[in-house]
């Protein structure tokens, strides 16, 4: 119990609780996970809000992310500086969105960002190609890739501009019931 007090103050824990989908215990567990990633960088005492960021290489080696084909994108999406360095806040944020409790709308927003490889706010053909290569281990021929991407756009693009805007994506997500359970990382 004494341990609890040294890592975060009560107010901090309250704030985390109010802003994420985690309980106190989970926040503390997340901290210990974060701490384990780099024991010499991350302090045990977070009461003073230290400015510590872990580079992307450390984060993507977590067993939860290691085998995920989208690991770099996930980390980049949640890093505040856009380059993949995660502060503890970003770290908590990431697993909060990916947790079971997060609502569909929130998950959809971040899923869209993850699939939007070139961060132009559209899922365009090149993004789709990248996604496809990641989920199939580049086993498809180029022709097949183009075909599939065209089909995807044709199916999901509502306003006919040849790429998927967030509205298109959200509309699609609402029709994919499994999304809620698959866009989820247990920690």
């Amino acid at each position: 119990m004494g341990n609890k007090q040294t890592i975060f103050t009560d107010e901090q824990l309250d704030a985390y609780q109010d802003c994420t989908f985690f309980t106190r215990k989970e926040i503390l567990r997340l901290h210990s996970r974060y701490y384990e990633l780099a024991p010499n960088l991350v302090p045990m005492d977070y009461t003073a809000d230290p400015d510590v960021k872990l580079p992307i290489q450390l984060i993507i080696n977590m067993p939860e992310l290691m085998e995920n084909p989208f690991k770099e994108r996930i980390v980049e999406t949640f890093s505040e500086d856009g380059e993949g360095n995660l502060s503890f806040n970003d770290f908590v944020d990431m697993f909060s969105v990916l947790s079971e409790m997060a609502p569909r709308e929130l998950k959809a927003i971040y899923a869209f960002k993850i699939y939007d490889f070139n961060t132009d706010n559209f899922i365009c053909k090149s993004d789709l190609e990248k996604t496809l290569n990641k989920v199939t281990r580049e086993e498809l021929t180029e022709e097949e890739v183009t075909l599939v991407c065209e089909k995807v756009i044709e199916e999901a693009d509502m306003d006919g501009d040849g790429k998927l805007a967030f509205a298109d994506f959200e509309n699609m997500i609402s029709k994919a019931p499994d999304f809620l359970s698959t866009f989820h990382i247990r920690i």
């Binding site: 309980t23 939860e64 085998e67 929130l106 070139n118 306003d159 501009d161 698959t182 866009f183």
Partner: protein, 865 residues
Amino acid sequence: MSYHYNEGFETDDDEYHHLDTLEIDRSRPSQKFSVLSENPYGSDENYSNVRQRRMDYPEVISMASVQPASARIQHAPEHTALYREPYNGGFSNLGFENENERDFVDKPSFISHSQDRYSDSFSAGGDGNSKGSIRSLSQKQMYHSTLPFNLISTEHDIVMERVNKEEKYALIKKLTAMSNRERNKAIKKLPLVLREKQEIRNTVQLMVKKESKTWATQTGCCADCLKNTTVSFRRFKETLSEIKQALQLWQKTLKVIGGKFGTSILSYFIFLRWLLAFNIFSFIINFSFITIPQFVDLRPNNLSFTGLELLTGSGYFQETVLYYGFYTNSTIRKDDNFAPYNMQLAYIFIIGLYLVICFLILLYSIAKSFRDNFINPVMYSGSATKLLCSWDFNITHEKAVKLAQQHMSTHIKEDLSEKQEKLVLTSCQQTVHFLIHLTVWIVTTGMAVGCCAAVYYLSESRKELLVNATSDIESQRESLLQPAVISLINLIMPFVFSLFELIEKFNSPKHQIYTIIFRNVILKLSIIGVLCQYWFQTIASGTKCWESFIGQDIYRLVVFDFIFCLLGSFVGEFLRRIIGTRCCKTLGKPEFDIARNVLDLIYAQTLAWIGIYFSPLLPLIQIIKLFILFYVKKESLRMNCLPPRKAWRASQMTTVFIFLLFFPSFIGVLVVIGVTVWRRTPSEECGPFQGLNVPFDAISNWIATITGEANLSWVVWIYDNLIKSELFFFLLTLLALIITYLYWQIIQGRKIMIKLLQEQIVNGGKDKMFLLQKLRKLQEMDGFNMSHSSVKQYKASDKMQENAQYSRDTDHHQGAQSGALALAMQARQQASAEEHEQHLEMNSHSALALALKARHQAEVELDDY
């Protein structure tokens, strides 16, 4: 300069899609209209290339990005002056140079901008309901984060900042006005960085505190007290949820399973755990309110224990608290200090309470699962969702990831080949298909009927055997035959049914799976139905202490079902794996059949529910069974099985399974227990209800005794006016039906509206494309006329125009030349044209927004429904 073209094009694009960004862009009207007129990029293809390239050169960016935004903006002209050199030289490859140059200038700005991009996103909080505002807020945040940045946007930034502050204030105000719970929910949902969320939260809390303080000074210490209570209540709720989480069994194991086999198989284990929770709850209340009081009034047990009883449930167990017959009908009174305990009432109330709670939980689970998984009537089955929504983020095991990737690529390949050679069936083939389906249906139904008949005759003949049996042991052995046969049927028939798959070739896997589930459910539940018929007709009328007898029957069925389940996973999974990997290599490892396994669970649970009246401690057996089953299935899965190759709509199937558990299973159980309580005469020598006409008389008698007591008159009133009166139930049913009809009609209306709005969006998109093309054509012509056709001139005027823009915003007046002015004028013209387009675009967007809103409404409706 060319990056203006890029920028403009991009702005243009952003605007097309996001209503929210419109206002922002309007606040800097002079900048963007220079744009489309000489856009060198005709297609989106180029545009994405630009972006991609930008991604590819991060090292170019890092240097510039170090500078703070304001400093950079002031130095902007020098920057461009520096980079103008190579740019001018690159006439030959105009487009390419442009892009590179853009890389330089745009990326740093993006980064510096990103610092305040979150504050920008507050802007939408001003109006609309909370959900809407948060939604648009999120969109704005997304789009604003990469809004094209201009070197000249200092002024814009200042304006924006002010606007943002106002909007942020509006959002905070709105959050303050919400109730505590809603506010927490809303804050959690904000798609912002945690730090920002915390800031908002703190500000909101301060505001709330201030408000409540002013309020408190008026109302005094009462408010203080209230506040303390709410705080402690909140703490209490938190601890409760923490305890709940700590009690969640197998958290880690489930994570491993999910990591190795994906969500679909995980859903089976979660279902199992859910059933376990039901049984634990039922065991706890039964044990503490029925069994423990009975221990006080224990009768001696003279029967010997041989070991066979574990299997048969009879013999020694007959005289234990396991069965109905052991419970007393008297009022238990240990000594005068304790209040008397009426066993009759306890028995009927506890069972009733448990069933009511189960009913509510099931109803709630169905509604929740339905809301989450069946929102839209139209499901995409196409490749879009397959590609973007089906990747399972749960899986963390290397092999599993590889397997999933393999499945995905084969799926996509299959899909493509299917599309290419999609056969149109002739009417003759269709008839053949139909006939095959019909025959298979007749055969399977016939088999199910045959099985039921076999079970019935077996039970009937068993009764005679029981009468003739000479010794107790012998009769016990004979009693094992019936459950063994039933379990065998349950084990083998699903395999036989799945063999029919080979003959019937279903077009869609969904169709196939539903058919198989339907057949299995019919088989299993009709067997239970036949058993119930046998119990009520034959056993209930002619057997001594028939309730205990039925309890024993159910006990045996549960135990045998368990044994055969283990046997099934041994034969169906272990031996099958040995055969598949050693003897016949083409077969390979078996797939884990989720549907069959879940149906087994549902069947076992139905038995356990029926048995709860006849054998109050049956949940204990079920708990042990499920517990062992979990580990056995886990090991079997790890050693023998592969995840299913076909796409398994895990969440949808979960909904279907919960529904199956509710509708034929639980409702059937209610009927059976209802018949027992209201219609059957309880046995005269044993059990809590001996001597009564029907068990329900226990309640009527109790009501009769308390009618005179003043402090219990409300119970009597409830009994007389609600429970006993048909009118009340009639009205209740009527009300439920009316509400259902109303919601149904509303949903129908919404569906039509959604369809219309979607059509509108499509039309809007078409209009947009058409106008865009037309505009481009016009621009090309105009541009050709205006600029003096030579490339050199074109470039020069270009540069000047850019200079002119700089001068406007940075006070570095460079001396505008007439060519630049002319171009600027032209840009103005363009502006009006673009404005027109924006309106159109707004239409399509408002249509989209409406459609989304309508959909959302429908969701909420469905939820309520």
